[in-house]
């Protein structure tokens, strides 16, 4: 039970992140998380990335292929391991930073 409680707390902490990776915990999903962190650092932002592993939550975003990237609650990519430059471009575009 203790274990479950901890997991839940982690999950809520990650929910609040503006930039999230949706993934089932596969190798590709972790690669994407790394890329996005690098991208955020390059953009001069806090490298804070949430990681949602709960399938019901992933389905709520309408994503059918993982890993996916969500910026400000909008899915900007799915089914691909993005390179840091690609992730940075998508984040800039989603935030109108161009």
């Amino acid at each position: 039970m203790g274990l479950f409680g901890k997991k839940r707390a982690e999950q809520t902490g990650e929910e609040s992140a503006a930039i999230k990776v949706l993934g089932s915990g596969c190798a590709k999903c972790n690669q994407l998380e790394e890329s996005v962190k690098t991208a955020l650092t390059q953009l001069g932002l806090e490298p804070e990335v949430g990681h949602i592993r709960d399938f019901s939550r992933i389905a709520e975003y309408g994503v059918m292929t993982t890993p996916a990237l969500v910026v400000d609650e909008k899915v900007v990519s799915s089914g691909r391991v993005l390179k840091p430059e690609e992730a940075a471009a998508l984040i800039r575009k989603a935030r109108g930073m161009e």
Binding site: F55, A59, E60, T65, G79
Partner: protein, 337 residues
């Protein structure tokens, strides 16, 4: 017609089969004093020829296939499937399973996506069976090694298993054995991207590189096992276990293949060597289907979405289908090889 047959034979043997490469490697080995007819020389020739051939085929195929796949994201397949009903939906689902990009780590989101759009369970399972079992890559790869007839039959029969398997699961009324969170997944229309040609080409290149990196160790391992079988295992052993003398060869090959996790590219060299050594065609194809369709990691993943009973039915349907295919091909071997 003769002209056409000759062109096809050339394509089959030299372009897909790369016989020229085999000769070239043989000559190269001879020139450095290794006799390809000897055991060590022969093993080395098989190893080099198969690794190079499979890597070239793999890279070319994955690139072309990924480009085609970029036109069939699962969102699109789901939308197309929603318009069909009954057996047609199962058939189309099996067909789309061959062109929709799929990896077992995405099977649950895909399952939920299909279910939430109201697609029947059987249609989803037709997809889940055909997707790993049959793809465009296996078609061309099988063509290069066993010839066009075997390749086309393999694909057709794979599709038939997927359609029947899905239909059986549908008829058994297994909905109650799907985990609740999948059944009640909220429907969300995903946005469909329209990538440019450049993006599709980049995607195809990335897929090719990623697949190559992932599969290369399996190819080396598969070819190494193949080389051992090819040059060291006595023919009598293989004939005894996997040849026409053993009526249970197909069942044995299927059961050994199921828990194994390997790509079709890694399985092919083993299959090739076994066939050369007198194993029966159906037995080999059953082994390949078992390895690619069912594996422990994918079953563990699927178990999260369905209850044990449905998982058991899924495994049972696949195994029965594969075993039947094995016996069918063994019975027809003299007609198609």
């Amino acid at each position: 017609m003769e002209m056409l047959a000759a062109v096809w034979q050339f394509f089959q043997e030299q372009i897909l089969g790369m016989q020229w490469l085999n000769r070239l490697i043989g000559q190269g080995l001879s020139s450095i004093g290794l006799d390809p007819a000897s055991r060590w020389g022969g093993s080395l020739q098989f190893f080099l020829y198969d690794v190079i051939k499979i890597v070239i085929l793999l890279c070319t195929l994955i690139f072309i296939i990924s480009y085609i796949q970029s036109y069939f994201p699962p969102e699109r397949s789901r939308r197309i499937l929603g318009r069909f009903h009954g057996i047609w939906a199962n058939i189309l689902s099996a067909l789309l399973g061959t062109v929709t990009p799929f990896c077992s780590c995405s099977s649950i989101p895909l399952f939920m996506g299909f279910t939430s759009a109201g697609l029947p369970l059987g249609v989803t399972f037709s997809f889940l069976i055909s997707s790993p079992m049959v793809d465009l890559g296996s078609l061309v790869l099988l063509m290069s090694i066993f010839g066009a007839k075997v390749a086309v039959l393999y694909v057709l029969i794979g599709l038939v298993i997927a359609v029947i398997g899905g239909t059986v699961i549908e008829k058994l009324g297994m909905e109650q054995y799907v985990e609740d969170f999948v059944l009640h997944a909220p429907f969300q229309e995903g946005e469909e991207e329209q990538p440019s040609r450049r993006q599709r080409l980049l995607y195809a290149r990335d897929q090719m590189l990623a697949t190559f990196r992932k599969v290369f160790p399996f190819i080396l391992l598969g070819v190494a096992i193949g080389a051992v079988i090819h040059n060291w295992l006595p023919e009598e052993w293989i004939e005894l276990v996997l040849g026409s003398n053993n009526p249970f060869g197909v069942i044995l090959a299927t059961l050994v293949g199921v828990p194994m996790y390997a790509d079709i590219f890694g399985t092919i060299p083993v299959a090739e060597a076994l066939l050369f050594k007198g194993a029966q065609l159906g037995t080999i194809l059953a082994f390949m289907m078992a390895v690619t369709t069912l594996s422990l990691p994918s079953l563990i993943m699927l178990r999260k979405a369905v209850k044990p009973k449905l998982l058991a039915v899924f495994i049972g349907v696949c195994i029965v289908g594969i075993v039947l295919v094995g016996y069918l091909f063994n019975a027809m071997q003299y007609l198609i090889l």
